[in-house]
């Protein structure tokens, strides 16, 4: 009879206690699997949203790295049309979007509010990003954008403007002079980060170039890659192609630019790590108590097994096997529990509070994430192994004659 078969028999003998222990592992495993699935889904959503916003890669002038936004056009990419053509020629590239980041003051005459602006090529921008989906009133920019602007709903409220109304944007040109252009509010966007929503302006490159007197210079090229493209290799090729074209640029990856993504990810990892640690401690303590009780109750049996020739290592193996069997049984039950809870949660329509800095909550959506299930299994096996080891070692070291005399 194998150690596992004997372990199973002993667990069946102690039905109530084994059931309790398996229940602890079941809930621990299900919590791992569900939390892991939820967090993985959140990360994927956040990553997708981030890339939709900042692109897979960004090409900027080498001197612009680390400079404040108002200075970036001073170190912009000149002859942007040629640079865009060079970048778009790469086989891994799906779209190249020129952007100008700028700051200024928006005014309706009666009220003036500072803004953070982005100049875009509206057609490709609408195709590649989520910008049109943010529109809650009016419409997104079309064609070359003309005189149209899109405002964050917070900024629009502050200025008290609606789609169709006019406003004036004032900004400082790279040479330091003040300039102004008039624009028409085309639409209002609900930008999901509140601070940005209160300052957000999007306009066509043409209008902003007139405002900044910047000609064919842009702050950056935002590059979207084809699905499955190798980001690092594409970055390397783009760097070479543009350097060959006479540009002194650097290619930046989306992770370098998405500080928000990394912050939220770290927050989730911290929460998950803490909850996971608490779960592990609960399972370890419960299991250690149960295994210690099992060893104490079966002391005489251990003495008998040792007397008839079971080696100390055999006793150790027998109790470790019980821990492993509990872990496996708990993980099987935990998988079923996790699948049921997942189905209930996903059908519930519960909306979670918005993550830090965001204005919109997330509908709860727990994905089946095999890695989380695998991690849960590994965690429970390790946990039960640790919890079983010390009682098992104690059992293996019991003096035979004392064990045989145990009452």
């Amino acid at each position: 009879m194998s150690a596992f078969a004997l372990a199973w028999r002993n667990l069946v003998r102690q039905k109530r206690r084994s059931f309790l222990m398996i229940a602890v592992v079941t809930f621990g495993f299900a919590a791992f699997a569900l939390a892991g699935g939820f967090i993985a889904q959140s990360f994927e959503g956040l990553k997708e949203g981030t890339i939709k916003s900042v692109g897979d890669l960004q090409v900027v002038d080498r001197r612009a790295v680390g400079k404040a936004e108002e200075a970036t056009l001073e170190y912009g990419l000149p002859d942007a049309t040629r640079a865009r053509t060079l970048a778009a020629a790469d086989p891994a590239v799906e779209a190249v979007l020129p952007r100008i980041d700028f700051v200024g003051l928006a005014t309706t005459g009666s009220k003036s509010v500072p803004f953070l602006g982005v100049a875009v090529d509206p057609g490709p921008e609408a195709a590649a990003t989520l910008a049109p989906e943010l529109i809650v009133s009016g419409k997104y920019l079309t064609g070359d954008g003309g005189d149209g602007v899109v405002l964050g709903t917070g900024l629009a409220a502050a200025l008290n403007v609606k789609p169709g109304q006019r406003l004036t944007m004032m900004a400082t040109t790279p040479d330091g002079s003040l300039n102004a252009v008039d624009g028409v509010v085309e639409g209002l966007a609900d930008v999901r980060i509140k601070e940005l929503n209160d300052r957000y302006v999007a306009a066509g490159i043409g209008l902003v170039s007139r405002l900044l007197q910047s000609g064919n210079t842009v702050s950056k090229l935002v590059v979207f890659l084809k699905p499955g493209a190798d980001e690092n290799r594409a970055a390397e090729r783009l760097g070479k192609a543009l350097a060959g074209g006479g540009y002194t640029i650097v290619v930046r990856h989306w992770r370098e630019l998405a500080t928000f993504y990394e912050q939220v990810k770290m927050l989730y990892v911290g929460i998950f790590g803490f909850v996971g640690a608490v779960l592990v401690v609960i399972v370890v303590l419960s299991a250690a108590i149960v295994m210690t009780m099992a060893v104490t109750e079966r002391t005489r049996e251990i003495g008998t097994l040792r007397a008839i020739g079971t080696r100390p290592s055999g006793i150790l193996k027998m109790f470790l096997a019980e821990g492993v069997v509990i872990a496996l049984a708990g993980c099987v039950a935990g998988t079923l529990l996790a699948l049921v809870v997942r189905a209930v949660l996903n059908a519930s329509g519960i909306v979670l509070p918005p993550p830090p800095g965001a204005t919109h909550g997330m509908p709860i959506n727990v994905k089946i994430y095999p890695l989380a299930y695998g991690a849960g299994l590994a965690a429970m096996l390790l946990t039960m192994g640790i919890a079983s080891f010390f009682p098992a070692r104690r059992a293996s070291r019991i003096q035979i004659v004392e064990a045989l005399a145990h009452v």
């Binding site: 007397a307 020739g309 045989l404």
Partner: protein
């Protein structure tokens, strides 16, 4: 039979004491004893005379404070715990007062267990366990768990288990103490028959006059020392 044969177990100047609070209680003092093949020996003496302690020392279940136990020429005290386990498994059998069967295993599995430890193939284990159980009169109880067996049946399973790996000697600590007199007599007849037919030595620690009356050699202990050692 025992006088001229090479001993299976040979104890020399064994001493063992226990600590009881502040006091040190000597359980076995300077005992020398040899068990030869085919012996059928009763260790008798009043409670506290050291019968069980001596049995445990001879059976390598405990280590002496002084003296040596040699098993078929090998010094038991020089062996590791693993090696002592292997020696018990292969050369010794044990029968206890309270039967000490593994409650989650059937009669057949209890008998098979020591063979599994010795690496005997499953089919051979099964055949030998059934043969041993049949030889102790339990051919109808192969699949029955210990809690459904009577005291006498349990002790028969324990005897079959003790014989599983073909031991040279079986150590039996008060094997009849939990049995009625009729069953005790049956069990002793069984052991005596095994002793005669298979040549397996038996060493009993006992209070029971019936066991003493069936022994071929009686060793009397008093205060941990051998008082007498004579053929019955």
């Amino acid at each position: 039979m025992s006088a001229n044969a090479t001993p299976i177990v040979e104890a020399s100047k064994l001493s063992r004491s226990y600590r009881l609070g502040e006091a040190v209680v000597p359980a076995v003092q300077d005992v020398s004893l040899a068990i030869a093949p085919g012996d059928f020996v009763a260790l008798r003496g009043p409670s506290g005379s050291g019968k069980t302690t001596l049995l445990n020392l001879l059976g390598l279940l405990d280590r002496p404070d002084a003296g040596t136990v040699r098993v078929e020429g090998r010094d038991g005290e020089a062996l590791s715990e693993e090696a002592r386990s292997d020696l018990r498994r292969d050369r010794f059998g044990f029968v206890f007062q309270t039967f000490n069967l593994i409650p989650v295993l059937s009669a057949e599995e209890n008998v098979s267990y020591p063979m599994a430890l010795a690496g005997v193939p499953a089919a051979e284990r099964r055949a030998r366990a059934r043969e041993l159980l049949s030889s102790v009169g339990l051919s109808a109880k192969f699949g029955v768990r210990p809690d459904l067996l009577s005291g006498g049946q349990r002790q028969r399973v324990a005897i079959a288990r003790a014989l599983a790996n073909g031991p040279a000697v079986v150590f039996a600590d008060e094997p009849t103490a939990n049995l009625d007199s009729h069953t005790a007599e049956e069990i002793l007849d069984l052991m005596r028959g095994i002793n005669t037919s298979r040549g397996v030595a038996f060493l009993f620690a006992t209070h029971d006059a019936l066991v003493v009356s069936r022994a071929r050699r009686v060793v009397t202990l008093h205060d941990g020392a051998v008082q007498s050692d004579a053929a019955a």
